[in-house]
């Protein structure tokens, strides 16, 4: 047991931070919100993060979820606007968990080379996270399967080259759940970018009308139904939790920096106990979220090595997501308050953190949703989880 970064992990973190301090500074984020700039080209070109968790056998870097969490945390710190989370955090994760060996060998090298971006869709419009909110149905089709339905709030769904779609058959049973690989320009796919409160992340509405999918594009590992798919999604939940950790931490940092500079009644407002205590609570939330995120990342690695169960992964992912989501939203809200009047101006960045935090907390299962899943584990089973 050794719950600290290796030297290599420290280096990855420091490199990521140095890179993003330039590639995703305030001006870059605001330009990206207006549709300008292309951080993704720099991410793929200079950093190669898209290949991070792709096995070396598939021309990736062969690193694990701790490293994945490190770069997502750094992305969350700077509100990086790019398909990193969609492609690496969610897409590659789902492929790692559910694509067959041959499928991985066929598909992953292109992603590792930075040639394709991914998007994962499951939720129907107005629906909650989870299988019950699944918005797409499949049935046998000419080429293999036919998909129809609607997907809402697909992260980077309007710019992804390839979509990974979770769908049910008409029985709507968990056993019937499958994941299909769909080209974004396939016949019957209509995509529309939907503007969001958080302008640092692209969301899309997708309409699928009689979309034909070849048998080969059904992810082999998803033939067993929901449990394997859920694990693949949980691997992505951890990436989002890591981002939210970064957002929570930077919100605290911005608040502390601002209150140390700003004076009132003849002294820095950081000296007022009320603000110190707010900051202390923010730090507590950060440290808990940090531990939860990296514990979940270690569990993800153990899961992929067959050393942890899907239930352990689910529990760790839910704890990480609820902890980091609440930390991000509460910290950003407090940081906004600690900024006083300037906090709710467009000019200062803290409102961008606040909006990203709220969106992130709600995406891929709200904190309440994840707590309810934890409650099922500890209260509803025959035995409590270990």
């Amino acid at each position: 047991m050794d719950f600290r970064f290796t030297d290599e992990q420290v280096m990855i973190r420091d490199t990521a931070r140095a890179f993003l301090a330039d590639a995703s500074d305030s001006a870059a984020v605001r330009a990206a919100m207006a549709g300008q700039g292309d951080a993704w080209a720099r991410v793929t070109g200079e950093m190669g993060w898209q290949a991070l968790t792709i096995p070396e056998s598939c021309e990736g870097l062969g690193l694990g979820w701790v490293e994945l969490a490190i770069v997502h945390e750094a992305a969350g710190e700077t509100l990086l606007v790019s398909p990193l989370f969609a492609t690496l955090g969610t897409g590659v994760s789902l492929l790692r968990a559910c694509a067959g060996e041959q499928q991985q060998a066929d598909w992953l090298p292109g992603i590792a080379a930075g040639e394709a971006t991914l998007g994962v869709g499951m939720q129907g419009p107005g629906k909650d996270w989870g299988l019950r909110g699944c918005g797409v149905r499949y049935r046998p089709g000419d080429a293999g399967y036919e998909l129809r339905g609607e997907l809402a709030s697909v992260v980077d769904g309007a710019i992804a080259d390839t979509l990974l779609v979770v769908a049910l058959d008409e029985t709507e049973s968990p056993e019937s759940a499958r994941v299909f690989r769909v080209a974004a320009d396939a016949q019957g796919v209509t995509r529309r970018q939907t503007p969001g409160l958080d302008q640092t992340r692209d969301l899309a509405h997708l309409q699928l009308s009689e979309v034909q999918v070849a048998e080969d594009d059904l992810l082999d590992g998803s033939r067993a139904g929901w449990p394997a798919i859920q694990a693949g999604l949980d691997l992505g939940v951890i990436a989002l939790a890591a981002e939210l950790l970064g957002t929570a931490q930077r919100s605290l940092d911005l608040a502390v920096t601002y209150t140390l500079e700003r004076e009132q009644f003849g002294r820095p407002v950081a000296g007022f106990q009320a603000l110190k205590h707010k900051a202390a609570d923010m730090m507590l939330r950060c440290e808990c979220a940090r531990s939860a995120v990296y514990y979940a990342a270690c569990t993800a690695d153990a899961f992929l090595e067959g050393q942890a169960s899907a239930a352990q992964l689910a529990e760790a992912a839910s704890i990480a997501k609820a902890s980091a989501g609440d930390a991000a939203f509460e910290n950003a809200g407090e940081a906004l308050q600690m900024h006083g009047g300037v906090g709710f101006t467009w000019e200062y960045d803290i409102h961008l953190y606040f909006k990203r935090a709220r969106a992130g907390r709600a995406q891929w299962g709200s904190s309440d949703w994840h707590r309810e899943r934890i409650a099922e584990f500890i209260l509803d089973g025959d035995e409590a989880m270990s």
Binding site: T194, P195, E263, Q264, R267, F272, G340, T345, E347
Partner: protein, 393 residues
């Protein structure tokens, strides 16, 4: 202690209700439920016209004494007016700073000449006001005002910067706190000035907010001519403090009815989208209802006056209560909206729905007009006799 309204009160209620029915329609129909906090930048001209319609109906200055052209309505009648106005979805009042703040100040502290000059234009909905209190870096700490007023051949000229001035670009007049005694510090040596906005020495720059819209402004004064000073130089603090008292008057009940409209909108959505079946949201919706009710009861106590006319504890906590309640309501609105909370309209830039705007804009409630932290200091010090904050050595 009794709560009921008299038959005369109820007749008054019928009167305003009927008037609103007959007037808040036609050209004014689109104004319903618009122009509130976070939405003050919309329908400016139409809302000015509406103020004139209100004035023509005799509904401006209803609480003013009759010698100043008011209706001298009782507290109960004013309560009823604000309830019915908000219930009908009456638009955010362009004139409320003039009617509710400038005018009471002039009635209390202005000369007869000043009263004759300014009050009729307010009463007739012809002239609009804004408020020049906060300054950059001073927050809500009026004692830190750095704007200067210099008397030049009997004419006061103002130089300085104000911030968080709502509707400054739509106002004809601004009342400004500025330092008349250049050597003074703290709450001494301030004056209370009336400044015309349409002059070369006044520059208004909108502040773009978290919502992407701008209803607050920075206002720069550079040798701007003050048309009048209210009271004497050095009395500015006293007058400003009285004015803060007016802010906690009956108009709070109007604010509460806006809140009620917002809560009703959330309840309607909850009933429609199934959130009303979620036990966690049910508790929070009930708590929101409970909080708004206690806010109303507190206001009723406030308006009825304390038993001995001195410190009113319910008044002291009022701002902290509504600001916190409203911020929480914004979060609740988003959670009730559920997965749709994040999605904007697609009509132009950053097209927020009413409830999304509530969520974002209500973050300012716990900041402007004295942050929650400042409010808690005041409550602890004035309400509970706890020691003042230490100052640095």
């Amino acid at each position: 202690m009794k709560l009921s309204f008299s038959p005369e009160n109820e007749a008054f209620r019928a009167e305003i209700r009927q008037w609103l029915d007959e007037n808040l329609c036609g050209e004014f129909e689109p104004l319903r439920y618009r122009g509130g906090p976070g939405d003050e930048h919309v329908f400016i001209d139409e809302r000015k016209a509406w103020e004139q319609r209100m004035a023509a109906g005799g509904w401006v200055g209803i609480g003013w004494p009759s010698q100043h052209g008011g209706r001298a309505c009782s507290i109960a009648e004013q309560v009823i007016f604000h309830e019915e106005y908000a219930r009908a979805g009456g638009p955010g009042r362009m004139g409320h700073i003039g009617e509710g703040l400038a005018a009471p100040t002039l009635i209390a502290y202005g000369s007869a000449q000043q009263q004759q000059r300014y009050l009729p234009a307010i009463l007739e909905g012809r002239e609009f006001w804004c408020q020049g209190y906060s300054e950059p870096g001073a927050g809500s700490d009026l004692a830190n005002v750095r704007s200067k007023a210099v008397c030049d051949n009997g004419v006061w000229k103002i130089t300085g910067q104000k911030v968080w001035t709502s509707l400054a670009h739509e106002a004809d007049w601004c009342f400004v706190i500025a330092r008349t005694d250049p050597g003074s510090v703290g709450n001494k040596g301030l004056g209370f000035f009336l400044v015309a906005m349409d002059q070369p020495g006044v520059d208004v720059r909108p502040i773009v907010q978290i919502t992407g819209t701008a209803e607050f402004n920075e206002v720069f004064f550079e040798n701007a001519v003050a048309a009048d000073i209210v009271g004497e130089p050095g009395e500015g603090w006293k007058i400003a403090m009285a004015l803060l008292g007016f802010e906690r008057g009956v108009s709070t009940l109007g604010q509460q009815m806006l809140f009620q409209n917002e809560l009703d909108a959330i309840v309607t959505i909850a009933r429609k989208n199934g959130a009303a079946k979620n036990p966690l949201l049910r508790q929070r919706l009930a708590q929101a209802h409970l909080g708004l009710r206690t806010m109303r009861y507190n206001a009723m106590r406030m308006l009825s006056g304390g038993e001995d006319g001195s410190l009113q504890r319910e008044a002291l906590v009022y701002k902290l209560h509504w600001a916190t309640w409203h911020r929480d309501l914004g979060e609740l609105a988003m959670d009730v909206l559920g997965p749709d909370a994040e999605l904007l309209g697609e009509n132009g830039d950053y097209d927020l729905s009413r409830l999304q705007s509530l969520f974002l804009f209500s973050r300012s409630d716990t900041i402007y007009g004295g942050t929650n932290q400042i409010q808690r200091n005041i409550i602890a010090e004035r309400g509970l006799g706890m020691p003042r904050e230490l100052r640095p050595r």
